[in-house]
């Protein structure tokens, strides 16, 4: 199903025949009620206390993609600094929270999340998106090779440049990665809306997470498809990241095309009702 239905926070339900159908629960449905949906559950667990039973059981439909954790389960605290604070420095609130955590039920931390200082959620997300068939080892090695390739290319440029230019050359692969993805994020997107039997492409503001997803998706698709058969992924990806960092290259062009199409269709903007 398209992202649009996620935006409306609908439930994913399957009918007895087994085909998934999105159930529209009305545009005024508050976002809180989406608690049973797997990923959305985390942020809303406190508010969704006891809400699971209130979810309307539409006849012939059962829930799919839900979390096995009940609403009483809290998220694990992975940050090392949280536990290292000496007792004297804690405020009343924090002391209460720590006491509470001893009694509360806590979910298991996912295997990919570590308390390492070098961990980066954006890199982890990108690695997961690159992964195929659950082969995280390969995806992670491709990611590290890409970062290394970016670093080496920048170092070569640095040594070949004059003293003034050296100050402008960025050698940190992580800043390059983040900046490149930021440059690829579209601000406005197009959504197909059904009106009078036809689907119209309506310009719509995109939420943050959709923008980040689109940037990463475009980057990965570009690197997978538009490369020579013998070229390796790290090589191509490092090249694309460097181009995107300088606001050039095919991914930034795709973002700009998206903006142009949204600008062209701005007459249809009133079809949007949210």
């Amino acid at each position: 199903m398209t992202h649009r239905f996620r935006t409306l926070r609908s439930l994913f339900l399957i009918s007895r025949s087994g085909t998934p159908r999105a159930a529209f629960l009305g545009s005024s449905w508050p976002a809180k009620m989406a608690a049973p949906v797997g990923k959305a559950a985390r942020g809303w667990s406190v508010l969704a206390l006891g809400l699971r039973s209130v979810v309307p059981r539409l006849p012939g439909l059962t829930q799919v993609r839900w979390s096995r954790y009940g609403p009483e389960y809290k998220d694990p605290q992975i940050d090392k600094e949280y536990y290292r604070k000496p007792l004297a420095e804690l405020t009343e609130e924090e002391k209460y929270e720590q006491e509470l955590r001893k009694i509360q039920l806590i979910k298991a931390a996912p295997a990919a999340k570590t308390s390492s200082v070098f961990e980066d959620p954006v890199i982890s997300k990108f690695t997961n998106m690159m992964m195929k068939g659950g082969n995280k080892v390969l995806a992670r090695s491709l990611m590290t090779q890409t970062l290394e390739a970016v670093k080496r290319k920048q170092f070569e440029k640095y040594h070949a440049a004059s003293a003034q230019e050296q100050a402008t050359i960025e050698r940190n692969p992580y800043t390059i990665f983040h900046q490149a993805l930021k440059n690829c994020e579209p601000v406005i997107g197009l959504v197909p809306i059904l009106r009078g039997g036809h689907f119209y492409q309506v310009p719509v503001p995109l939420p943050d997470r959709r923008r980040r997803f689109l940037a990463m998706k475009w980057m990965i698709t570009e690197c997978r498809e538009k490369k020579h058969r013998r070229m390796l992924m790290p090589e191509k990806l490092s090249h694309e990241l460097l181009e995107a960092f300088h606001n050039q290259g095919p991914v930034v062009k795709k973002k700009q095309d998206m903006h142009k199409m949204a600008e062209a269709n701005r007459a249809l903007a009133h079809y949007r009702w949210w």
């Binding site: 070098f118 670093k151 080496r152 050698r171 992580y174």
Partner: protein, 363 residues
Amino acid sequence: MLKRMTRLVSGARQLDPGRLLHGGPQAPQSLAAHPDNQVPDGSPRAVSCTSEGDPVRTFNEACLMVRRPALELLRYLKNTNFAHPAVRYVLYGEKGTGKTLSLCHVIHFCAKQDWLILHIPDAHLWVKNCRDLLQSTYNKQRFDQPVEASSWLKNFKTANERFLSQIKVQEKYVWNKRESTEKGRPLGEVVEQGLTRVRNATDAVGIVLKELKSQSRLGAFRLLVAVDGVNALWGRTTLKREDKSPVAPEELALVHSVRKMVRNDWHGGAIVLTLSQTGSLFKPRKAYLPQELLGKEGFDALDPFIPILVSNYSPKEFESCIQYYLENSWLQHEKAHTEEGKKELLFLSNANPGQLERLCAYL
């Protein structure tokens, strides 16, 4: 295991010989080809690298960390008695601890002292993935490897240009009906013959080794035989004949000549060897001891030798390695500068030099 030999045109900063003699921890990475006052500027030197990236392109320099095993070896070499038969030193250790780079350090030292260097960067490359195996012209039972032999001759020529004109051949060698090398001609001619006529390259290698071995006792030069991955000479090969029957290593002419070279029946130099599991065939991954990697045959052939263990970084070495990376801005991650980051790197790499390098590559 060495990946390749690259040429390095000297242009790096001058190396103070004192830095090598003191035990002070210096920088890692591959071989330094620093010119001293004795070596003329602009002379190309062959350099061997273990890492994926070329450190010269990355850092504009190539540096080595001075470590205990290399210093021990240098001390032994300085005190060698050239009248006694050549002593064999075997560097062994777990994967990634720095055996190859210690070998490179020793080679560099000997090159500075004007020894003749006979360096085989990776003996494993000679026993696997060989496209063309010709029947040897010299001995019908053995096989020639023209590609490997000619590339080795090229590197040998680059490394020892000066000696090629000084050393004279002591016998006449007939290559074919039209070509032959007379007695008394410089060794450079044999090398040229091997490079131009690739079919005779293996025989040229054999001749070069034989001549050097017989002439080292005369005292005109000191010979250093350095072989990386010497356990390849006594293991198994993955090469097959046309009828798909396997080839034993002793049936390869190159391996045969190097085995003769590594025997301690000559004097006037030293033999430094390295064991390596990384490129080896049919050996378990965890094997690193001489007995395990050489097998009975190899161990008996090399016995007696002086084993030198190369281990992981000590805390001081680790610290200096991190400092080197920080000075060169190789560690770009902002958390890598902190104590937390350093502790994490120590934990993740277990002070193993190879693992640390791979970790710091993407940080």
